[in-house]
């Protein structure tokens, strides 16, 4: 049976991904900060058909605790990780970051550094086994820096580039590396935004993620139309772009 580990397992998108794997009877391991939420989600996933659900409580900025966490994961999943999904992240307050180096670096730490630390360790394990999927939720925001959220965008772009390199390294070892780039998703992270027609539901994005994992896609824009929106945005000449209020 498939084994899945999800970092940031309490996030709205991750929970929906976990539900899909649960109905397939998978074994799941979740890592997140909120113990009560982990317990609730684990119970739900078991009812939905997961063969086994375990979890670890961990703040994912604590990179020094990753070794212990991975040991726990490997023990629970019998040393085999079929799919590792990295789904944790925050949406920084851009204007607050502009006034604070500490805040900016903390956001980079959460959204990029911790992911890179995890990927580094997971990549070695999967490379050694010569199988499995490493999937991480980046963002369309990483495709081009914009004044409204370039701290977040820069972190996601670092993640995207890192994943690209990892894919290049691991392809010959039969390890699948998936970069997930969602657009606007209606989750608690974006609760304060007013929603329009471009907004997607977490369950739809989750279905797209699982589909991209199954089909061994390299880069998944979710929903699909973001690929074309970002294609246009990336091709606006800089001398025009810098004057736009995006």
């Amino acid at each position: 049976m498939q084994t899945i580990v999800i970092f940031g397992g309490c996030s709205a998108i991750a929970e929906q991904v976990a539900r899909i794997y649960a109905t397939r009877g998978a074994q799941l391991f979740l890592v997140d900060r909120n113990e009560q939420r982990l317990e609730d989600i684990a119970a739900d996933l078991k009812v939905r058909g997961a063969e086994k659900v375990e979890y670890a409580v961990l703040d994912l900025t604590q990179t020094d605790r990753f070794d212990g966490c991975l040991e726990q994961i490997n023990k629970a999943l019998g040393g085999v990780i079929d799919v590792a999904l990295i789904a944790h992240g925050t949406l920084p307050d851009q204007s607050a970051c502009e006034q604070s180096v500490d805040k900016t670096l903390l956001e980079i730490q959460i959204n990029a550094i911790s992911t890179i630390a995890l990927l580094t360790k997971l990549a070695n394990q999967l490379e050694q086994r010569g199988a499995g999927t490493l999937a991480a939720i980046s963002s369309v925001a990483g495709d081009r820096g914009r004044q409204s959220n370039y701290v977040y965008g820069a972190a996601k772009s670092m993640m995207t580039t890192f994943l690209e390199g990892l894919r290049n390294r691991l392809a010959k070892h039969n390890v699948h590396v998936l970069t997930i780039k969602p657009g606007f998703v209606d989750t608690p992270m974006t609760a304060s935004f007013s929603k329009g027609p471009l907004w997607a539901k977490p369950e739809d994005v989750a279905a797209g993620i699982v589909n991209a994992i199954d089909k061994k896609r390299n880069v998944a824009y979710l929903p699909w139309f973001w690929r074309y929106i970002m294609l246009i945005i990336r091709h606006i000449p800089e001398f025009v772009f810098k004057r736009m209020g995006l």
Partner: protein, 434 residues
């Protein structure tokens, strides 16, 4: 306009929406009154809170426990009935009672004590609720069952969300031989025939109801199609669920329901079957949830919305009352495509303010037309009052305080247990001093 509307889109109110994302949290703090809000399938203003706050329960959608041996399911209040069916049907279980749409939350099904096509045998949804947790605005959590906090248990079932927020529910499911339905569709001529069909079917058929041609008059009054079904034998394989789901993509500028479309549809629907009896084996979805295959069908009534009129009349007065009501509707040339008639049984609900009674119920929709709909309802109300019937709060947006308090004299007991921070547009309307 708030994204939190009622299903009838009438009345329109201004209200703020917030979400409850965790069942262990307290209710959100607010200066104005709050009201739990599920999937917004209540037709009238029982789910609205004008100038207040509605608290969405849709994120409370986790299962907690499912015992596949005993059929006891515990889940959070925002889990919808279709999610429950998807989970339990493969294990040979089914909902004891389900309304005509699967797009309602478990909490909403309790708060409105919904009923379905098997009311004559199984009673209401509330009859099968073993226990639930009620979260009050002062932070108290009451585990409610027939034994524990029994007063809150009774007041919350059919309590319109007013006693607190239901955070989780525990339901007793029923074993079924098959989720497929072996059904018969019987074309009948008039109301007398409807009543005799009901009488003959109610013992042996789990699900019964009739679609009524609300345009027919004279000796044809109340004619329609009587549908009855049972869960099929285990040997019958489940026909596939219909794949095609339609959606009304936007709200048309005017209601598409008028006296011409009404006549044409009702005639065609009645005449679609030439034989008197037609038997079939059906997937449970089209049988139990015929309208769920058309998403957002409420939009066809246009921006002004619609009201549903659902009344129940004691059995002995049922025939006369239905004749009067259907005559009024046919005369007015006013009504809807889908008028539904059903005989209720006498199974008692634990709900203090539960709507069904031993008798007969009629439900149909009317587009909201200023200066027409409400005066017309007044005529129907007169018949309901004269025949000792009552109106279903979950569907209502018009009942006067006088009528409500006469239909539900027990409302003061609910008022006494109402959470002081919770209120609704309906409750303020129908509890005015008279």
């Amino acid at each position: 306009m708030s994204e939190f509307q009622s299903w009838g889109c009438y009345p329109k109110v201004d209200q703020k929406g917030v979400s409850m994302s965790d069942r262990h949290q307290d209710l959100p703090k607010s200066d104005s009154a709050i009201l739990p809000f599920g999937n917004g399938r209540s037709y009238g203003d029982s789910c609205l809170n004008a100038d207040g706050v509605v608290v969405s329960t849709m994120a409370l959608n986790r299962f907690i426990d499912f015992d596949t041996e005993s059929g006891v399911l515990r889940c959070e209040a925002g889990v919808m009935l279709w999610e429950i069916l998807d989970l339990v049907v493969p294990h040979g279980w089914f909902l004891q009672v389900t309304p005509g749409t699967k797009f309602v939350t478990a909490g909403g099904a309790i708060a409105n004590d919904v009923h379905g096509k098997n009311h004559h045998l199984k009673g209401t949804f509330g009859c099968h609720v073993r226990q639930f947790e009620l979260l009050r605005s002062d932070g108290q959590r009451l585990c409610c069952s027939a034994k524990e906090n029994a007063d809150y248990y009774a007041a919350t079932i059919a309590g319109l969300g007013l006693t607190g927020m239901i955070t989780w529910v525990e339901l007793q499911l029923k074993r079924v031989t098959s989720p497929a339905i072996a059904m018969e569709n019987i074309k009948y001529q008039n109301l007398d025939e409807f009543f005799s069909l009901s009488e003959e079917s109610d013992q042996d058929w789990e699900y019964t109801m009739a679609w009524v041609d609300c345009v027919a008059s004279g000796s044809n009054i109340g004619r329609g199609h009587f549908m009855r079904g049972n869960h099929a034998d285990a040997s019958v394989s489940l026909p596939p669920a219909p794949k095609l789901t339609l959606q009304v993509p936007f709200t048309p500028p005017i209601s598409l329901i008028n006296s011409y479309s009404l006549k044409a549809f009702n005639w065609a629907y009645y005449e679609r079957q030439q034989d008197r009896v037609k038997s079939a084996v059906s997937h449970y979805e089209p049988f139990l949830y015929p309208l769920d295959s058309i998403l957002d069908w409420n939009r066809i009534y246009g921006p002004k919305g619609f009201l549903q009129y659902q009344c129940a009349i004691p059995y002995d007065n049922g025939l006369a009352a239905m004749k009067d009501i259907l005559r009024l509707i046919a005369q007015a040339g006013f009504g809807s495509f889908l008028a539904v008639l059903k005989v209720f049984g006498d199974k008692h609900s634990p709900g203090l303010m539960s709507f069904p009674m031993r008798g007969v119920t009629l439900a149909l929709d009317f587009p909201y037309v200023e200066s027409k709909t409400l005066p017309f309802f007044k005529q129907l109300d007169d018949v309901v009052v004269q025949t000792q019937g009552r109106i279903y709060p979950a569907k209502d947006a018009h009942m006067s305080a006088e009528l409500f308090q006469a239909f539900y004299p027990q409302w003061r007991e609910l008022e006494a247990l109402r959470d002081p921070k919770i209120n609704s547009s309906m409750w303020q309307r129908v509890t005015q001093e008279i």
